[in-house]
Each structure stands twice: as structure tokens, then as C-alpha cells.
Symmetry: C2
């Protein structure tokens, strides 16, 4: 996994910073465990503060725990916001999110240095590096929490009052790592984010840069399956109301739905909790989270109908009731066409192979694109492995992505994409 390419001094510094960054919350298997507002997340944030300050950036935490590195080249002007998130899933990979924040920081360092050159043209907008709080949503739901508050999609108080499984609130957890500020966040002009693909398509097609044109639509449901406690041994089968049997049938049904729409529907149950979860008690309650995702909204609508039809059957077959506790969904939404075109031109100028891709996963830029012109970029993931300690992207690709992000951010700072209100 060591690189044969010889990098420039700047690129070497970036790769070295990436290695250092990956030590925070490092796991024995080469991954990281840095759930939102954990000790490791806090330590890494302090490290990022130091790195940004060394390069002359002003660091502020906003009220939702987002970490900002600000450079004001044009007094009073809005900011081009560049970044991603440094929190991770439990036993996750080193690249997801963290790469995008560090690439944003190094891109901003390069822009700032360029602007201070003699004879440099002053930018139109300032540059802000952002480390969004809790993109992953594994400890505190929902995911993309920090960018949702910043973009006005989630109430600050709702976010801060959210608790983890141990009953600790976001407010308490952020205070514990010293990362809750009183900053409102900068005024954004545009946004750019770079991320690993978390799929195989770019690797398969041999391209270095993905130009994200839109996101898949998703339906996310929280189901509660209700049964009744009974003795697992002595209770006759006909008398049982086994919530775990009902839940298991639902997990299987989700996969059967995906098999019915091969390649165009992704389904999953990632979280499932059993009560009372005792060896000799028929479970009375199971809570589970089930997702349906597709690039085709009509497929998603049909899958939703089929899922609910199957749930009615499961209620009868397993002698349980299934309650839909909470659901949220998002449609297929495009990233601005002008941004994709700008990125395609930058990639061509840099001689980087590229193609248009969709993102199945949600990203903070999915929120930001509804607020300001936003460019989303991908670099390849080896074997598409993600949310896994073996997640990997080559040094060549992370360095190429940094070059790409730097030039896109530069163009945005020069006013290449005007905010909707000013066009």
C-alpha cells in the first residue's frame, strides 16, 4: 500500500498529514473508530485546529458542533465552503469523510498561499474549510446532523437534545470534547466536497475523478415489531407472538425486494434491537431500521408498496403487529449542471480521467446543494469497500483528488458559479 510515485513536496505533506490523521481512533485492523463526539473525534478535531491555525486560518466551532477554518481574503465577502466530515462508523475505514476534510484544508492552504503571491488576482469569495459534525449518524440519529442544522433542515435544539444509546445528549457530548461554540457559521456562496466513491463503478471504468450529477432517492423506515413475551421452551408454537420472527421475516423481505429489481434497488437493515433479548424468552419487541434506495423514483414507489403488502402478510404469518414508527425519504435531486460542467472542464485541464456518477450514499453536500451552488467529487474506492476497516484509495488517487478539489475551489472563489440569488 506504499506508493511508487514521487510526489511534490506539497503532495507529500498532504499524504503525511493523512497518515497522521488516521492515527486518531486507529483500530488494530488498519481502520478507525471515531464516532461523533467521541474522545477520538475530539482529539482529531483539536489536531485539525492546530493544522488550520499553523496555516493562518481562524478556527471556530458553531452551535451544532461544526468545525470551521476561515480565511478572509476579501473582507465581508461570503465564503466558498469546502469540506466533509471526520467522524466515522464504528470499526470504519480511514477515507470516508476524513479524506474530504483534509483535502479541503490542503486545497485552502494552496489557495491562500497563491493569493498572497505578488501579482495574484484577489478572489471574489473567501474560503472556509468545514468539518461537519456527525455525518455518520451511528451514535446520534439522524446522519448529516451538522450540515442539516447549518442548512436549516433540522432545528438546532432538536439536534442538541438527541441522545445516544447511553442517554448522553449531543449537547453533553459536544461539551465534553469542547466542540460546541456560539458561532452561527459563515455565509456560504458556494460549496465543494470530495469523497471516496464507496462503490466499484469508477474502479471498473478506470477513471480517477467522479463528477457527481445527482443522488439516489431513499426511503428510510423505523419499524417496531410487537409480539408478546413467553417461555421459549414451554409455550406451544401456536400461542407464540414472536417479535423476532416477524422482524427476521422483514429482513429477508427487504433482500427479496432488492432481488426483484436487480441493480436498481438497494435495500438493507443495518440496525436491529431485540427486547428482552434473553435466551429463554420469546421476544416481545424488535426495533429495526430498514432502507430502500434507488436512482429510479418509480422503482422506489413500487418497492414501498410491495414492502407494505409483505408487512401485512408477515403480521399474519408471525402473529405480530408491525408499527411504522418513523420514516423519512428524499427524492433524486440533481447537483447543479453548471457545477458538473465546471468540474469536467477542470478535470480535462488537469488531464484527469473522469465520468459523471450518481451517489447512493448521502453526503453533507446533499444538504448544501439545496442552499448554494455545490460541486461534489469522487475518487475511486478499491473494490468498492467502505464502512469497513479495509476501505482503501491509492495515494495517487487521493493526491489527484486534492489537485482537482483545489482547482474547483479556486474557480468557485473566482466566482465561476454564482449563487442562485445573484445570477
Amino acid at each position: 500500500m506504499t506508493s511508487q510515485t514521487s510526489f511534490s513536496g506539497q503532495d507529500t505533506a498532504f499524504v503525511e498529514d493523512f497518515r497522521t490523521m488516521s492515527t486518531f481512533g486507529a483500530t488494530a485492523n488498519g481502520g478507525v473508530d471515531r464516532q461523533a463526539a467521541s474522545t477520538a473525534d475530539g482529539e482529531q478535531r483539536r489536531w485539525l485546529t492546530g493544522l488550520l491555525q499553523e496555516h493562518g486560518f481562524t478556527v471556530k466551532f458553531d452551535r451544532a458542533g461544526n468545525q470551521w477554518g476561515l480565511h478572509e481574503a476579501v473582507p465581508g465577502a461570503p465564503y466558498v465552503v469546502v469540506g466533509s466530515h471526520m467522524d466515522s462508523q464504528p470499526t470504519a475505514g480511514r477515507y470516508d469523510g476524513a479524506y474530504g476534510v483534509l483535502a479541503a484544508a490542503h486545497a485552502a492552504f494552496r489557495l491562500k498561499a497563491g493569493w498572497s503571491d505578488a501579482g495574484a488576482v484577489a478572489p471574489k469569495y473567501n474560503i472556509a474549510v468545514v468539518n461537519w459534525f456527525n455525518e455518520e449518524g451511528s451514535r446520534f440519529k439522524p446522519s448529516m446532523m451538522g450540515s442539516s442544522v447549518y442548512t436549516g433542515k433540522l432545528e438546532l435544539d432538536t439536534a442538541l437534545s438527541t441522545t445516544d444509546a447511553a442517554g448522553i445528549s449531543v449537547r453533553e457530548a459536544l461539551d465534553a470534547i469542547g466542540c460546541r461554540g456560539d458561532f452561527a457559521g459563515p455565509e456560504a456562496a458556494c460549496c465543494a466536497e470530495i469523497h471516496i466513491e464507496q462503490g466499484r463503478s469508477m474502479e471498473r471504468d478506470g477513471v480517477t475523478i467522479g463528477l457527481v450529477s445527482s443522488n439516489w432517492a431513499a426511503n428510510k423506515y423505523e419499524f417496531v415489531v410487537h409480539g408478546e413475551q413467553a417461555h421459549t421452551g414451554s409455550t406451544v408454537i401456536e400461542d407464540r407472538k414472536d417479535a423476532l420472527l416477524g422482524a427476521s421475516m422483514l429482513v429477508v423481505a427487504a433482500r427479496e425486494l432488492a432481488n426483484r429489481f436487480p441493480g436498481v434497488l438497494h435495500t438493507s437493515v443495518g440496525q436491529l434491537n431485540v427486547y428482552p433479548n434473553s435466551p429463554v424468552v420469546v421476544p416481545s419487541r424488535v426495533n429495526l431500521l430498514l432502507d430502500l434506495r434507488s436512482a429510479d423514483e418509480s422503482v422506489l414507489a413500487e418497492a414501498d408498496t410491495l414492502l407494505h403488502r409483505r408487512i401485512a402478510e408477515i403480521e399474519s404469518l408471525a402473529n405480530v403487529s408491525v408499527e411504522q414508527h418513523h420514516a423519512h425519504s428524499w427524492p433524486v435531486t440533481p447537483y447543479p449542471r453548471e457545477g458538473v460542467e465546471l468540474a469536467a472542464k477542470v478535470a480535462a485541464d488537469l488531464g484527469l480521467s473522469n465520468k459523471s456518477v450518481m451517489t447512493v450514499a448521502g453526503h453533507d453536500s446533499t444538504n448544501m446543494k439545496d442552499l448554494v451552488p455545490t460541486v461534489m467529487l469522487f475518487v475511486p474506492s478499491v473494490e468498492g469497500i467502505s464502512h469497513n476497516e479495509h476501505e482503501y484509495t491509492t495515494d495517487e488517487d487521493i493526491v489527484a483528488g486534492l489537485a482537482m478539489l483545489t482547482e474547483v475551489a479556486n474557480s468557485l472563489c473566482q466566482g465561476a458559479l454564482e449563487p442562485a440569488g445573484t445570477r
Copy 2:
């Protein structure tokens, strides 16, 4: 649920003690939550100590946390051991186990009082009331822990070193409630236990006393399903190794097995834990406990074969591997015929309707019967509800069961069943 029958003073005292006992760890829905060595378990044990001491019994805790109430009527003679367990499942009923301990205590009080009457015949054996530690096994596995140590089936150190989900050992938990002693336990001559049926058969047949003739055979397996972490959204379905899908197929397979042998095979999965259990991560590992139980050992053997055949299919269908981590099983074993005949005679003398039954659930007497002549008795469970806050047995039945247990214990103390070595 109040009784219309007018009871004797002794019976009223028993019913009142039962009400008092049910306040320890009482839940809002009329049940109890008194897991082994919990605070509520400790408080209830102290209450039992007081009750036993009031009646002149010597109370000792043995090295495995079993609570003994001893009355030595014949210096140096072995003891007839009568009792059950007071620990419970989470959100359980008031009768399971606790009824048997309190009935044992009141039976022993009556025997002791009888023996002190002028002209009473001295018994051959002494009487010991026992409250076995951790019969339920919900907090610390395995179940029937205290009686397993007493009967030499489980090493004391193994039991004391067992930890709960929070990492607290049995040793620490027993010390925390002050219930770990240095007593080795009394020498047992015979054993009797009374318990609720936890099924519907006695209620259906309208009998008051069940004469337990044998236990169902059981196979208990711990399976670990291994998959691989991946992103629930972006990972294509063919690349997924979803441990929860495999585990869910196993839960469904267990029920399908039961359906294949209607009425003669009981199957269940009561406990299932998912890792990393995050909304957007394909689970990499699921641990689950699966039980097969039957009165027919050939059915159990066939079910075991079919289960393992199905597991091989599931490994292929879900792209996972299934590891059988731990398994233990027990055969159909009879309670001694002489004990069943003795109990039938006692029931007939008392005018109590009775029938021979098998027990599907395990009991401490299942251990004791391998050590000394043992009599196991049931009273009916209304609607067969058990391991549930709505578990219920009528006051008439618990009082009838107490009369039955008293006379059986009396006969055993008189030497009606001789220990194997002395016959």
C-alpha cells in the same frame, strides 16, 4: 384476581407472604424484574432471610450464592432439600420460581411445627429450604447456575468468573448484594420442587397437581454469523455479506422446523445481537442463541440434521459463514418413578386432581434428580402464560400446591424415598 375461597390462617399467611414477596422488583404491569444478583434480587433475599429466621431456621449462603434455610431436627442427618429460585427474567411474572421457594419455606415451617408437637414422630431427615442462584440465566449464562454448581455439573470458579453484558462477574455481583458465603451446602437426602406449569395442558385438563415424570430433551446452540461490514447504500447487493440477513434466515428456519413437526418440536431464538448495529452499515457479525426441544429424541436428532442442512444453504444464499460457537444438550430423562408414585398417592390422599406431565422448561430439580431422589410438582398456569408480566396462577391453586408440597416433603423426611446408595 382476588380469591373467593376462605383459607385457613396458615394459608392466608402464605398468600399474604406471596403478595409481599411480589413487591420486590415489581413492575408497573403487575410483573417483576429481578434478574440474578440485581438489587431487587438482593432485597428479596434479605426479606427471605428474615422470614426463615423468624421461624427458627438457620440461614446460610453457599459459595455459589445459593440461599439455604436449615432446620436440624435430627442432628447429623442429611437434608430433604425443598425449593426453587427467586430470580426472574426481565419483565417477568410473579410466580416462576418464587412461588416454589415460598411454598418450600411454608411447607418447612409446617413440618417443623408438626415435629415439635407433643408425641410427634421424629423425622429421619432434616429439612432445608433452598433459593437457588440464577436459575433464569438471562443476566449470567448458563441458566440453573446455582444448582449446577451444587450438583457438581459446573465448576464453582467457572460460575463465579462468568460475566454479564456489562462485564460484571458473578463473584462481584454476589458480593455487591452480600450473598456469596463460604458454606458448602448441606448434604442432600432427597429433593422436592414445586413450580408453575408454564403451559396450558393442566388448565385444559382441569387438574390441580402435575406429577412431573420427565423433561423434554433440548439442543441449545450459540451461532455466530460472519459477514463483512459495507455501506448499506452504495454497496451493490451481489458484493454484500450481510450477517443479519443470514441470521434472519436462521430465525425463520427455526420456526419452519417447528412447523414441520407440529406439537412435538419447540424451537426459538430468544437472544440476537448485531454488530456494529449502525443504521448505514451492513452487519458483519450476529450472535444468536437457538434452541430445539422435543419430548422425542429421534425428532430432536432429525431436527438437528435438518437445521444444519439448512445452515449450509443459508451460508450460500446470504454469502455468510455460520460458526457453531457453543452447543449443549440434554436428553429426555425421567424423574424417579417411585417419586411420581409417592406424589400420586399424596395427591389422592389430599383429594387433589392430578396427572402425569413432562416439563419442557428446565428446572433446578432437573439437576437435583441426577444426585438424589427428586419429586417435581406443577400447579396450573392460567392460559399457559409465562416469562410475561401477566403470568398468573389462582390463589386456590397455589394454596393446594403448598398442601401437596408439604405432604410430599413430610413423606420424604420420613424416608419414603431412599437415596440410591442406601437402597
